[in-house]
Symmetry: C2
Subunit: 240 residues, 2 copies
């Protein structure tokens, strides 16, 4: 019964004396396929097995509760996942969960990339549109992210109008109380758009105009900006 024991061995079972027996462990040495004595660190020789029984009972009950929690969550996962037939491997179920999770995540990111979702922080970006767009030699692409305000568009329009600029296309996305606008802006007048300095001046003017509009709106409601996003509604429209 006493043989060597170490590295790659597997516990087979434990012996508990019928009444208050002494405890010892047996393990299976995998390479040799023999049963050997386990190297138990706590070799409580022959003690305290009236208490031990209650401890074991608590332990097993706790473990059962743990398993119940996990399996309960697995069951609810089975109901949440669309293709979750009631009889499915735990592993297969988890794989399915991973798949659906990635799919939903891909959809979300895809919906956010074509038209990004408003950020939590205010942001103004102005950049010259590369290459003439639709026969328009020069245009500015400006994006403005801020708290949702229905009347903001007309204000932006007015501010740009004062600069003799015009919005020829706008995309507006609202999301949980915030909004992101992307404007395509052109100049009403004829100008020398080859002049880099003038283009830079235009961009700066647009940025300044948007900033002033945003400042006018973002005076009262600031604390609620960090609220959690619950409702989602992304819209858009094309004006002409």
């Amino acid at each position: 019964m006493e043989r060597e024991a170490f590295a790659s061995l597997e516990r087979i079972s434990d012996v508990i004396g019928s009444g208050y027996g002494s405890s010892s462990s047996l393990v299976l040495d995998r390479e040799r396929g023999e049963l050997v004595k386990a190297p138990s660190k706590l070799e409580h020789k022959g003690v305290c097995h009236e208490r031990s029984i209650e401890a074991l009972r608590n332990h097993s009950e706790a473990e059962r509760r743990r398993r119940a929690r996990i399996n309960s969550h697995l069951d609810t996962l089975r109901t949440v996942i669309p293709g979750a037939n009631r009889k499915m491997d735990k592993a297969a179920l988890l794989a399915e969960v991973i798949g659906h999770l990635k799919e939903l995540r891909a959809n979300a990111t895809q919906a956010c990339e074509g038209l990004m979702i408003p950020k939590d922080y205010d942001e103004i970006k102005v950049e010259e549109q590369e290459g003439g767009l639709n026969g328009i030699p020069y245009s500015i692409r400006a994006s403005l992210c801020c708290e949702y305000k229905p009347g903001l568009l007309s204000d932006v329009r007015q501010a740009l109008d004062a600069l003799h600029l015009m919005i020829i296309r706008a995309e507006i996305a609202t999301f949980g109380g915030r909004m992101k606008n992307v404007f395509l802006i052109i100049s009403c007048n004829e100008h020398n758009f080859e002049d880099a300095e003038y283009r830079h001046f235009l961009s700066g003017s647009v940025h300044q105009a948007l900033r002033s509009v945003l400042d006018r709106f973002s005076v009262s409601q600031d604390i609620l900006a960090t609220r959690k996003r619950r409702r989602i509604s992304i819209f858009s429209s094309d004006f002409l």
Copy 2:
């Protein structure tokens, strides 16, 4: 079904003879706190334990592989979930997975219901708006689902203008080459909106106007209507 055979019993341990001993099981009767002999159905007295050992080895190895699969999936879940700190309970992790799954699903459905996604088939719906909206005594809510056409809005506006009607609010959603528009329409003139017959006439006129606009647009592109939807971009805007 018979999984719970030992309903109120807990197996404590199994005894395996030193070399090729006979096997027997001990269980803990939970109510009495005593160790009793387990009701083993396969009481292989003293047989075949050269093979049994190999069988056990295969069994335990298979079980280890199974655990590895499950835990592997759990690990990948830990990486997929945003708030998945590497050290998290299995149960807590699964709960988090369920939470994120429901959140994503809620987002998806909510994004589709608040502003429905365009159907694959063309559709025109006109209905009287219940209850005065924002002090407006009477209004018509019309929805139009069709192939995406940027210039459709102005055509609708013109058609309604001929009826002395006005769009006071519009929501436009585009999705994979199709679009769904919801218009809130009021009459420019003062009328007796208590007259049910007149209201019915108005609804019919709106429907007819939308139909004519839709017919004008849906002449050339019909076959591609049943294309699969890949890109998602839902937008909206409020005009004023």
